[in-house]
Symmetry: C2
Subunit: 137 residues, 2 copies
Amino acid sequence: MALDTPSADSREYYTITDLTREFGVSTRTIRFYEDEGLISPLRRGRTRLFRQSDRRLLSFILRGKRLGFSIAEIREIKDMYKEPPGEAGQLRLLMAKVKEKRGELEQKRRDIEETLRELEQVEETSLARLAEIGVGT
Amino acid sequence: MALDTPSADSREYYTITDLTREFGVSTRTIRFYEDEGLISPLRRGRTRLFRQSDRRLLSFILRGKRLGFSIAEIREIKDMYKEPPGEAGQLRLLMAKVKEKRGELEQKRRDIEETLRELEQVEETSLARLAEIGVGT
DNA sequence: GTCAGGATTGACTTTAACGTAAATCGTGCC
DNA sequence: GGCACGATTTACGTTAAAGTCAATCCTGAC
C-alpha cells in the first residue's frame, strides 16, 4: 500500500517531494531548513515524514523569505510564537522584540505602498503613451 | 572653504561619508552600487560628488533592499521608471513587467498583514500573561 | 612645501543560502 | 529475492552582497 491513504484533501503525512512540488522549492532547501533547526519532521527509518504542522511551518518560513527575512530572523519570529514565558522580565523582553518586528514590518509596508504608487504612475504614463502611438492600430 | 556652502537644509553636493551617515551604510556598499551601475555620482578628480538625484537614488535602492529585492531586481524596477519606450511592443513588455512587480508587491503586502496579525496576537497573549503574573507588582 | 586625514582603488575574504554530485540506503513490487 | 527508484548523507561548489586590508592619492590647513 502507499505511504498513506490519501483522504480527500488533507493527508496525514507528506513526503519531501510532495512539499517541493507544492511550494516550488528544492529538497536541498527543505533539508537545509531542517539542518537549521527550523523544521523537525518525523522519521520512518531515515525517510522524513512531514506532518501538517511541518507543512505549515514550511509555509511560514517561505513567507518570511518572501519578505526578505534571513533564516536567523525567521527563527527569531518563530520563537515568538511559542508559549509566552512566565517570568515578567522575559515576558517584557519578548514584547520588546515583538514591537521591534512590528516596526520593521510597518516600514516594509510603507515601502511597498510607495513602490506601488510609483508603479501605478508608470502604468498610467505607459497607457497614455500607448494611446498616443496606438491611435488607429 | 568647505566643499560647499551648506544652505540650511539641502546642499548641492554630498560626500560619500555624508551618505553613509545619513543612511547607515558603508562606503563599500555605496561603491558597490556604483560598480553595479545603479548610481553614477559626479567626480571632482577622483572624489565622488553625490547630487540630490544620487541621494534619492540611493534611498530608492535601500528601500528595495528592505523589501528583499536583489540588485538585479532593483535595477529592473529602476529601469521601469525611465521614459516609456515609443514602440508599442516594448511598451506592452514594460507594462507586463510592471504588472508582474505589482503582483509580487501585493503578495508581500498580504504576507506582511498576516505576520502583523500574528504578532498582534502574540502581543495580546503576552499582555494577558503579564496581567496574570503581574498582579500586585 | 609638507603633512594629516579623508577618499579611492584593487584585491582578497567572508557569509548566507542554497546547488550539485557521488555514493549509499531502503523498500515496495514483480 | 532481486532490482529499480526515490530518499538520504556527505562533501564540495557557487553566487550575491558586501567586509576587510593595504597601498595610493588628494587637498586643504598650516
